[in-house]
Amino acid sequence: MESQALNPPKWPLKFLRFFLKDEYLEEIEGDMEEIFYENVERFSVRKARRMYALEMIKLLRPNLIKNLEFVNHLMHYSMFKNYFKVSFRGLKKNPINSFINVFGLAVAIGLAIFAYAFARWTFSTDQFHENKNTVYLTTFFANRDGANQLYGTTPRPIGEHLRQDFAQIKSVCRIEDRNVVMKYDEHVFHERVRYVDPEFLEMFTFPLKWGTSNALKDVNSIILSEAMSIKYFGEENPIGTSIQMIYGKGQSKVFKVVGVAAEFPKARTIGFDFLINFENFRTTDPGYNYHDWNAFVNATFIKVDNPADLISIKSKMEKYKDLQNSVAKEDWAISSFSFEPLATLHEQSEFIKDDISRSSKNNYTSIVFMVAIAVFMLALACVNYINIAIATAAKRLKEIGVRKSIGATRKVVIVQFLTENVVVTSFALLIGLALGYFFFIPGFEMLWNFSMDFQFTDINLWIYLPIILLITSIASGIYPAIYISHFQATTILKGSVKFGQRNLLTKVFLCFQLVFACVFITMSVMFTQNTDYMSKRSWGYNQSDGLYALVPDRSSFEQLRTIMSQHPDVVSIAGSAHHIGRSHKSTVLHFPSRNYEVDQLDVDAKYLETMGLQLKEGRWFNDYEGSDQNAVVINETLANTLGEHPIGKVFQIDSVQFEVIGVLNEFHSYSFSQTVRPLIFKLAEKTDYRFLAVKARSGSELNVYKALQAGWTELFPEIPFEGGLQQDVWGFYYQQIGIYKLVWRVFAFLAITLATLGLYGLVRLNVESRIKEFSVRKVLGAGFKNISASVINQYVSLFIIALCVGAPLGYWAGSWLIEFTDEYHMLITFSGAVIAVVITALVLAMTMFTQILKVVKSNPINGLKVD
């Protein structure tokens, strides 16, 4: 080791040997080594090595380095000047071809940039936290439903225990969210506050715009996000101002604003609106037992200095497991603890149930789709370029012949063509960048209403763009360059070269392109059909006439019901503790054979009628005081897992016996993208009412909605109204479906535009080169029919092949994609593929027709006068 360190580093020498003229090598190598050992004596070894490397690089001087043959040829600046000039002239001379090439590539590059922006956004989610590799979410495995599942919540006491028992754990932060009403002056809104330990702002990187983060130690302090600060206080600095938090009927607490967070990075899943000290539960919720092993907090984060400590921590956590298992209800028994670093939490959240970071499965799969689409589009555009370049080569043959005869080698011609290609692609890149920046990205952001935070200052972008430029130019340019340059100068100048129309590869490329277009169109037709189906698909209950309102307690429920029942358009009213599409609780059912984890909704006897749920068998709850206390109605999913004759089956919840009295037809509580979970309805205690559901007379939902809001405001001017139309509970489901439709149409439109452009360019060139033939035909009496036949016949077989391959391929890809993305999709039929074939054929026919028309209308004399 020691002796090796005394030698000069190896790599600069290799570098030198590659570049330096051989005859100088021995002398200079010797000199360098001598100087190195001299430097070792004078300075440190490290410095000597550094100086050695630096000197080596400084040796790169024109008269010392090898004359690399290839480099020399490329270094003819004036030739490049000529290439540029020729490319610009070429672009100007054939505006239509140039447009097809540049526009096609620009669209594809724009999409590629968009895909990049989206991927960057997804992968950077939650990556801005400085401690992302030392902060961990505490998770646990539990078996509630026959299989071990990872959960992101934690038993309440564990945070305290971890803090006290482990010196390696530097800080602990528990997080709980609660819905409250915030009041400042006349600003009153429903809000979600985050109860956290004061370490929150040390663990997560949310710098404050105003105020100090350690002030959160005071239980009377509150920290606001920037958005909330603007919502309540405008642009002013609210530090020191008081804000009132109403957490129950007539119960409130005044907090002092001690901090306002700076604007959050856009790519995040964990953030906050309001932060208050975790200890506030002592005032706001006296029943909140900090030591209850049966209750769970939303999240417990820990910070360790050395991630290796986690292994020993994990092993010592066994005792908590025993502690929890001994007091916990059997269903909630934990089998083991685990930790997930903040850095990978977003990526993994798909597999962690109930975790604080949102599931991201869709984003990660979307990246794959977008990259695939961008690559397809790039391929289409490149193929266009290749086809047109080969077809136009005839016009450039003379130029190449002259170049070759005055000394250009084949290599030089290839370099020339590639240069031209780089020019075209650079144009396309500029336009594509503009398209991406001003059109694709903002369009997408507007549709989904979020910001990708795409900026030109991103360094990776400037690595990515040249790579795209290089790959695209080479992919599209190398074949034409090689092809065109292979002709002999003598044959060209003799005029005996024959090519162009009958190039097999051109046809293969065109076929390839049409197949792509056909695949895209098929897929987008299928998706449009599917989205249509989804927007019409029944939710399993009457979502269009329903409305709901959130109520704080029973008495306000009664008051609101009294008002609403007088409204002429109200058909029925129900009260409930949970509501379809809004809330439920998790329960474990104990059957003699096994346990089931199910969603439980506590409702009243009118709920069935009000929501329009349908009974499959059995009966609903009877509507009199004290009825059916030990009865449940289940959904079809649960009924199916229970086996035949579910009615009358008996099971236990927390050692209380219940009986199944009815089964409902399948309905979707949450959107179609989610699987229907097993579910039970139970009668609610009247004191637990939190929702008021209303069924309006068909068509009068909006009137009733206004009346509901007005009634609420009259009763409770202090508390803002919260509620809405039942059809909006899935987060504006119908608007989203519209967006999917639009996006697929845009893709299909782009694909067919590119393919049509390519076809148009090819057919036009073909027709132009055969103008003499057509003129002779016309002079001899050929009519529309004959001309069209002779234009079309060389493409017909191509079209048929393209459609025969494209449609099934598109059908297959489309059905796979639909099955992959939608749990409850339409019945997939061939109709989509058929419609796509018709559309494609029509577009192809129209493209051909424009050219045929041109020939038919032209005067044969003009065609014969050429040359």
Partner: protein
Amino acid sequence: MKKTKLGEFEELVLLTVAALQQDAYGVEIKRELESRLQERLSVGSIQSALKRMEDKGFLTSQFGEATAKRGGKRKRIYATTSHGRKVLEEMKDIRTQLWSAIPKLAFELKAI
């Protein structure tokens, strides 16, 4: 007369070669020049000047002995050609003539 043109740095290197005689090889030339100019020079600059002057015919060179310090690689000893010496002398003469052509007044005026 581009071939005979001698740059300022080249002239310095050439003079050093002439002064060092038998010791005139890369490292020694560098060392000598560095001590006289009081600044660090890179191997690349010296080598490229030497090679350029060899092309122009101011210098000749031949391999000398190898030492262990150089990892067994031979030195290349440079020597000035008669043409080189002639050009050096010409440069010196031109300089002396120019110096003597400067009127003394010019310096005195500047001093004021």
